[in-house]
């Protein structure tokens, strides 16, 4: 079974974001493998263990530096990587097209994973776009997965712990949610081994992706300013509780 994982190279959530010009951020910061993608890689390794002879391929559309993220995925268990190298950021319409073409050129996917969202753009849609291009069924926020012959049985979380269970035929696309598993972080030998695994580099321009009539383009970034001015509520527990009730009633007007 060939399992493809679409991974994204994203800024570390702890770093400060500096806006350079209207629609560009300073990318000279620490980037890493999108956290939800870690769940996807971990799940793929589990499936590979149950299906000997399977192969896990991490695919990434990104700048040259995104090789680091593919190496992280390989240290966690991906067998090889494909980097679609580009010079600029693309929206999810173009991203899905590029990933689809690269996967199609490479092999025969039985399963394609993504994270349920990326922590930078938070678009939540690339898995559905890949699914539409391949005409494969899609499920997102997958928190449980069983492969049964040519079918995938998945639990998807809606909210508040409520889940739906779906049966999809293979091949299918899965957006990994946090409840899917506990990521297995690589050991030092894993990291060393990952350096020897192959990464195929393709130029985005060689994929001949046509410009789309539908698009999403960033016009402007502005920093989110938090103008909160903390006021202390003083007094014993009773007074504090009373004051909170007053605030909820008179200021927030929620009760």
């Amino acid at each position: 079974m060939q399992i493809y994982i679409c991974v994204k190279h994203v800024p570390d959530s702890a770093v400060h974001i500096t806006i350079l010009s209207k629609n560009r951020i300073d990318e000279n910061i620490s980037f890493l493998l999108n956290p939800y993608d870690e769940h996807a890689v971990t799940e793929a390794v589990k499936i590979k263990n149950n299906n000997p002879g399977s192969e896990i391929i991490a695919v990434c559309l990104g700048k040259n530096d995104a090789e680091k993220t593919i190496r992280s995925a390989m240290a966690m268990g991906a067998d090889r990587g494909i980097l679609i190298a580009c010079d600029e950021n693309h929206d999810s319409i173009i991203t899905a097209l590029a990933l689809k073409v690269a996967i199609e050129q490479d092999g025969n996917p039985e399963l394609i994973f993504t994270g349920k969202e990326s922590i930078d753009a938070e678009g939540m849609q690339t898995m559905f776009r890949i699914g539409a291009l391949f005409d494969f069924p899609v499920a997102t926020n997958v928190v449980k997965l069983d492969i049964d012959a040519d079918k995938a049985i998945v639990d998807c979380e809606l909210s508040g712990g409520i889940t739906d269970t779906y049966e999809m035929s293979l091949p299918c696309i899965l957006g990994a949610g946090r409840g899917l598993n506990t990521p297995r972080y690589p050991t030092f030998p894993d990291v060393v081994k990952s350096k020897k695994k192959p990464i195929q580099k393709i130029a985005f321009t060689d994929l001949n992706i046509k410009d789309s009539a539908s698009k999403m383009s960033i016009v402007e970034f502005v920093p989110l300013k938090q103008n909160r001015e903390p006021k202390e509520i003083k007094g014993d527990a009773n007074l504090v509780a009373k004051e909170i009730v007053r605030i909820l009633k008179q200021e927030a007007k929620v009760i």
């Binding site: 909210s159 739906d164 269970t165 946090r178 402007e220 970034f221 920093p223 509780a241 929620v254």
Partner: protein, 317 residues
């Protein structure tokens, strides 16, 4: 030229969720016809509510009973309705249901989509949303014959505007989903718990809650406040509450009117999930906790003491 905007209405126990009204308010403008798409109820039962917020067309989408919970069918039915009624902009909630339905629709018709928008410029097709863990606000231009936007719950205050609506029936009972079968449905419109992404008030606990049992203090208080209960990653990773309650970078992103943080220190990752809240009230024993310098009100106190007292006052009215 007159534009048609289609609004996907979400119901909860056959009643319209409050969060729909702010979404309708955002879509109202001159030269715009509003179409409310109702999939889970008879249009007649929600007509008054929708009219009072300015809806002039209610489209009742009739699905086969055994297909109602199938997200693929729901998306297909919506796509057919979008085409039938010449919709050029689709509005839906960035809710648990919307996070599945809206991208399914956008992907199938190759339309641009931005989720979690708190501002929409109808004329110029510009939207605003947060990116980079809530650290920036991005203005995004959508281009395409049909555009789809997911609206952040509680983004604006709903404003009433009386209209008179015609009810249109749209039969979609003949749709099928190949390759995709629903085995068990948790129930899109049957959720009894108030869900985090749409709650007006959230009361959340962190390390300071100390154990799983203490979280019942929060749920008792939440009942009185009609609030949802959330948690920090520490509380989830300690196994006190399920991960579905987690607010933060890798949990739920929330924007309630009031966020009450109990024993939560306020890491960058936690802020990523709740910084767009209206008012933040923090209770923490540690006067150096990061959250105390980035909130509206704080008490240096033990939430385990304050919360039961708060519940009691609310009980006694």
């Amino acid at each position: 030229m007159m534009k048609n905007i289609g609004i996907i209405i979400e119901l909860d126990n056959k009643r319209i969720k409050e969060t729909n009204f702010a979404m309708i308010t955002m879509a109202r403008a001159k030269n715009i016809q509003l179409f409310a798409f109702v999939m889970d109820a008879y249009a007649a039962s929600v007509k008054d509510d929708l009219e009072s917020f300015g809806i002039s067309n209610i489209v009742e989408i009739g699905l086969a009973p055994d297909q109602q919970n199938n997200p693929v069918i729901r998306a297909k039915a919506m796509i057919n309705a979008i085409k039938e009624f010449n919709i050029s902009m689709v509005f839906g909630l960035s809710s648990a249901m919307g996070k599945d339905l809206l991208p399914r629709i956008a992907a199938q018709i190759n339309a641009p989509l931005v989720m979690d928008c708190f501002y929409v410029d109808l004329e110029r097709k510009l939207v605003k949303t947060s990116q980079y863990s809530g650290k920036t606000i991005a203005t995004i231009q959508l281009t395409g014959p049909i555009i789809v936007v997911g609206i952040r719950p509680n983004a604006i205050e709903p404003i009433k505007a009386q209209a008179f609506a015609q009810v249109l029936k749209f039969d979609s009972s003949n749709l099928a989903a190949k390759d995709f079968r629903v085995i068990k449905s948790g129930g899109i419109d049957k959720a009894t718990n108030i869900n985090l992404s749409e709650a007006d008030v959230i009361i959340a606990g962190g390390r300071g809650m100390k154990n799983s049992e203490n979280f019942t203090l929060l749920s008792h208080c939440a009942e009185k406040l009609n609030a949802a209960v959330g948690a920090s990653r520490v509380a989830v990773d300690s196994g006190w509450v399920p991960y579905s309650m987690q607010v933060g970078q890798t949990g739920e992103k929330v924007s309630p009117k009031v966020y009450i943080a109990c024993g939560i220190s306020g890491s960058i990752q936690h802020f990523a999930g709740m910084k767009t809240s209206g008012m933040v009230i923090a209770i923490n024993t540690d006067e150096n906790a990061a959250i105390l310098s980035n909130c509206d009100y704080y008490a240096v106190a033990d939430a385990l003491e304050i919360i039961p007292k708060l519940t009691k006052i609310l009980e006694n009215g």
